[in-house]
């Protein structure tokens, strides 16, 4: 239990957590103290003066500490002579506050009057009109008329782009500095600042690049007025005209809770379209923030390039056909090929789709293999054993806790986790970053560990060895229910740990809570399997499993990689298919030909290729039948995030005519294969079946997933001024499934990882995932186009010098089956002997590290 103190607000006593901000403490008990500059997720500034209250404290006898009382027996209160700002007060025992007196009312009214002297009255055209903190508090506390002359109203620039996504209206700005503090404190990129002073004070940026953080959109939510607007939404609709629909971000494994604001749209044929994406509060996932990829990456759902009818190859050309014809043909082929058919899913398919695909595979052949694309991940078992405990919230980690980020560039792979890990570091948590290359998180790391590509698992193995050496083992857990400890112990005893890893390991093992965030940066699925096993080993032997805020977080490449693994789809199966190409491919939102140049040969002999996709991808162009499926916006379903939280999304947008949700397409196919079961009518029924047949998902019925509990701080109730315009969660908080470590009767197992690290000869090309890329579906967002770089490769300075390549030169890169031309960058990010090649910027490249040859292209 946290320590509480007693405070008195308006004559009523309350017990509130010690050290809490007074505004929050009042809010906790439903008492309103209006604010503009204070925000519950940021430090106070005391700039707007809206939160004025009468403040005092109970007088105590200095020696005895007894409360002094007056003749009526009431405690004596020493009041401040003037009104005080509540936001700059933390609660203490005996604090006395009055929020309802005439003096307070007058103070608030005057502040509103002052603010309005320089605020334009353009609410009719303002995007915030209708969900504006200033509007709200003016109605509530404003004087109704002004002593100031209208002609003296302050005028300022109304269209100041702060980057190409966020536009500032200086006239509307009330200088609360929320955006300035947000950039400085939360994001750590202080690119917004004040300039000048007094009446001329303005927000500006002179940074290069300007306001370009991937979290920039959040400032428009916390702006208490309409000063900051997004280029995406500007004038899209009035807030009251839109219907908010809870949904989940399909772009990364964080699984940010979103609200899609939808409205009928003339541009979309008069049908319901997403007008803007807003964050939805989920304190265990994304709090009230989202990244710009999630906020602005919704245009693909309405893009021109979306497939709108099934296509079938006739005389070498893909021609439109009816669903009936397409399904009949595919079903016939499935029956024909039977066990020679191979099924692969992409990592952004919903659980319902995956389940129906699995059913289709099983209906086709009992031995059917289920593949997962891109084929770069592994470690389902590690997650099942040692995944983070149920109830884990990164925002709860602080002093005394530790986070290890290995093989992941969180800023690019899971921005919200980057933000939360950074904040944990600032709260005092020990952050260790281990990667083969520098990443943006290094700045906040207490220890940075560099390894060579291929050695990531070794680092964690060494950490486990340090646990053994420093006696940081959980002996009880090991003896009670861990298998394979003897073999691992033997192996650990013999390992030699480099000094820099020793100190990092010691810092981690000291911690009370330990969370490991493991990605797959620069590795194929074989190495990833080892890394995940090593992470599970470390967590199990040190006892950091089976409870909240401890365990493994998988930084998967996709929004639903976890779900795919849970359903039995594996990268290993794709590896086998590559080695022994199947006669028939059934690919659901998977694009192996667009991701990995090596895959082409596996398709050479294929007799029949079926692709279910939203767009005509590289693989779809090779297909014999293409089935047009729906995006996340148009159907309902569930995603399972990297912390195993199953979350529901709802139908937001009118579906494109001629498309089906993938699960429905597969269900209809199943029905046609050897008299399969009748398809379900609703996604909910599919989930019902999953709960019955897939043990970890037993609790995941739609009703349970839609369950909502009260969260603090309360966001977007009647008080938009307080938390901003992020949405309250009405769609469900989702549920995490329990790991083996959390079930006391289940046994855990550890095993040594490969002793020898994978080594490559010569120059190594390493694929890199970047946040803003040209992968479908994200690429279809024209707004973000300027943020996606032209195809490039990062070279080490020494390698570049040896090759005679300089920054900006054109180079030819040959790695395995991939042959591409790129622009060289020499900026110190690439370790020696390594060429970093971002994926999905242009031509098909490599999916896993591969030796390469680089040549300069002479002009």
């Amino acid at each position: 239990m946290t320590e509480t103190v007693k405070i008195t607000i308006d004559g009523q006593d309350y017990h509130v957590p010690k050290g809490m901000n007074l505004v929050d403490a009042a809010k906790l008990h439903g008492i309103e103290i209006p604010t503009f500059c204070y925000h519950p997720k940021m430090s106070p500034a005391g700039m707007c003066r809206m939160c004025l209250v009468e403040l005092g404290s109970v007088q105590k006898d200095r020696e005895s500490g007894e409360v002094l009382v007056d003749e009526n027996g009431e405690p004596l209160v020493r009041w401040f002579p003037t009104l005080q700002t509540a936001c700059t007060q933390t609660v203490h025992d005996g604090m006395v506050v009055r929020t309802q007196t005439e003096r307070v009312a007058e103070g608030r009214s005057s502040i509103v009057e002052f603010l309005l002297t320089s605020h334009p009255l353009d609410c009719p055209t303002c995007d915030k009109g209708g969900e504006c903190g200033l509007q709200e508090l003016t109605m509530e506390y404003g004087p109704g008329e002004s002593k100031f002359r209208y002609e003296d109203k302050h005028h300022a620039e109304k269209h100041v782009p702060l980057g190409d996504l966020i536009i500032l209206d200086r006239e509307r700005c009330i200088l609360c500095a929320r955006c300035v503090r947000y950039c400085d404190e939360l994001v750590g990129e202080p690119v917004l600042g004040f300039h000048n002073r007094g009446r001329d004070l303005v927000i500006e940026t002179v940074s290069d690049p300007p306001f370009d953080t991937v979290f920039s959109g959040n400032t428009t939510d916390i702006c208490p007025v309409g000063a900051l607007t997004t280029a995406d939404f500007r004038f899209g609709a009035r807030p009251w005209e839109m219907d908010p629909v809870p949904t989940i971000c399909p772009h990364c494994p964080v699984g940010c809770n979103l609200t899609a604001d939808t409205r009928l749209s003339a541009d979309f044929g008069g049908k319901r379209a997403i007008k803007r994406i807003m964050p939805r509060q989920n304190e265990a996932v994304n709090e009230i923030w989202i990244c710009d990829k999630g906020r602005f990456g919704h245009h693909h759902s309405r893009a021109e390039g979306r497939l709108r009818q099934p296509l079938m190859r006739r005389d070498g050309e893909l021609v439109p056909v009816s669903w009936d014809e397409a399904l009949a043909t595919v079903a016939e082929k499935l029956v024909q090929h039977g066990s020679k058919a191979f099924f692969a899913a992409g990592h952004s398919l919903a659980n319902e789709d995956l389940w129906e695909l699995r059913k289709l595979a099983r209906q086709t052949s009992r031995r059917a293999k289920l593949g997962l694309c891109p084929a770069t991940v592994s470690g389902a078992q590690a997650v099942q054993q040692a995944g983070v405990g149920v109830g884990t919230r990164l925002q709860d980690l602080g002093a005394g806790d530790a986070l290890l980020v290995i093989a992941s560039d969180l800023y690019e792979h899971a921005p919200l986790w980057w933000l939360q890990v950074k904040q944990a570091a600032e709260r005092g948590a020990t952050v260790v970053v281990a990667n083969a290359r520098p990443t943006k998180l290094d700045r906040y790391a207490a220890h940075t560990v560099r390894y060579r590509y291929g050695e990531a698992a070794r680092v964690l193995h060494n950490f486990a060895a340090m646990a053994l050496r420093n006696d940081k083992l959980d002996a009880e857990l090991l003896s009670a229910r861990v298998e394979g400890w003897d073999a691992l112990e033997e192996e650990l005893k013999g390992s030699r740990v480099p000094a820099e890893q020793k100190s990092a390991a010691e810092a981690l093992l000291e911690a009370q809570n330990l969370v490991v965030l493991a990605g797959n940066d620069g590795m194929g699925f074989e190495q990833h399997a080892e890394l995940m096993q090593a992470a599970a080993n470390l967590l199990i032997v040190s006892g950091h499993v089976g409870r909240a805020n401890n365990g493994l977080v998988a930084v998967w490449p996709g929004a639903n990689t976890q779900g795919a693994l849970d359903m039995g789809f594996t990268s290993e199966a794709v590896g086998e298919a590559w080695e022994k190409p199947p006669a028939m491919w059934v690919l659901a939102e998977a694009d192996p030909l667009g991701e990995d140049a090596r895959m082409a040969q596996a398709f050479d002999q294929a007799d029949f290729v079926v692709v279910a996709a939203q767009f005509l991808t590289a693989t779809a162009r090779r297909a014999d039948v293409v089935l047009p499926v729906q995006s996340f916006a148009e159907r309902e379903g569930t995603f399972t995030n990297g912390m195993r939280r199953v979350q529901r999304f709802y139908v937001a947008q009118s579906p494109l005519e001629g498309t089906l949700p993938a699960w429905k397409a597969f269900a209809r196919l199943t029905e046609r294969v050897k008299d399969g079961p009748k398809p379900f009518v609703a996604a909910e029924q599919v989930m019902q079946e999953i709960t019955e047949k897939l043990a970890p998902y037993a609790e995941m019925s739609y009703a349970n997933l839609a369950h909502v509990e009260e969260q603090f701080p309360p966001i977007r109730r009647d008080d938009l001024y307080y938390g901003g315009t992020a949405y309250e969660n009405t769609g469900g908080l989702g549920l995490q499934w329990r790991t083996d470590a959390e079930s006391p009767r289940k046994r855990l197992s550890v095993r040594p990882v490969e002793r020898s690290a994978r080594r490559w000869e010569g120059l190594l090309a390493v694929p890199l995932r970047v946040l803003y890329d040209r992968a479908l579906p994200f690429a279809a967002s024209a707004l973000m186009d300027g943020h996606v770089p032209a195809p490039y490769a990062e070279l080490n300075a020494e390698d570049a010098a040896a090759l005679g390549v300089a920054e900006g030169d054109r180079i030819a890169l040959e790695a395995g089956a991939a042959r591409v031309e790129l622009t060289a960058r020499v900026n110190g990010h690439a370790p020696q002997g390594v060429v970093l090649v971002p994926q999905h910027l242009g031509d098909v490249l490599i999916a896993a590290p591969e030796t390469c040859v680089v040549q300069k292209i002479e002009e």
């Binding site: 690119v191 300039h195 002179v206 940074s207």
Partner: protein
């Protein structure tokens, strides 16, 4: 480049403060001394030295009136027109001074010959001696417009003499 030209001075400045960012103001003065005013480049240089964002450096330069964010005349005249000074006639003094120099009487400005820049500023910490005129950070107190005119003419003559000298030297 400041870092190359004044390595010693920069080192001394940094030595006075617990962390780099605290040294931003003395470094801005140094840059202003070097370039005459705080150019965008100068701000970036100082920000780089202090390991802060250029926006933050500019924020500081913008707040304090003693940092010049635009080129100034040879004589940079600042008059406080805040309330206590205004009560002693400083605003009237400022208008008259502007009119005498032929610049915008509301906001001040630089004379056509580039010799004088006049600007109203907040508080020069000399309320008791208002109207007060600050010429390149030197105070002239208890002024009236006649006295100020004499000062102006004196500086004008000074500048002319210097110019003659330069011409002769050539």
């Amino acid at each position: 480049m400041l870092a190359e030209k004044y390595p010693e001075r920069i080192k001394q400045i940094f030595a006075k403060y617990p962390d780099k960012r605290s040294a931003v103001m003395p470094l801005l003065y140094l840059a202003q001394e070097e370039y005459g005013w705080l150019t965008e480049e100068a701000l970036r240089e100082v920000a780089g030295l202090c390991d802060i964002d250029p926006t933050q450096a500019r924020s500081i330069a913008g707040f304090y009136t003693m940092f010049a964010e635009k080129p100034k005349g040879k004589y940079w005249l600042q008059v406080c027109t805040d309330l206590p000074c205004a009560l002693r006639g400083a605003d009237q003094f400022f208008h008259e001074l502007c009119e005498y120099l032929g610049v915008d009487p509301e906001h001040g400005g630089t004379t056509d010959d580039g010799l004088f820049t006049v600007e109203p500023v907040m508080c020069l910490a000399a309320c008791d001696k208002a109207p007060v005129l600050q010429n390149n950070f030197h105070f002239h107190e208890n002024l009236n417009i006649e006295h100020a005119k004499q000062l102006i003419e004196k500086w004008r003559a000074e500048a002319a003499a210097e110019e003659d000298k330069d011409d002769e030297a050539e």
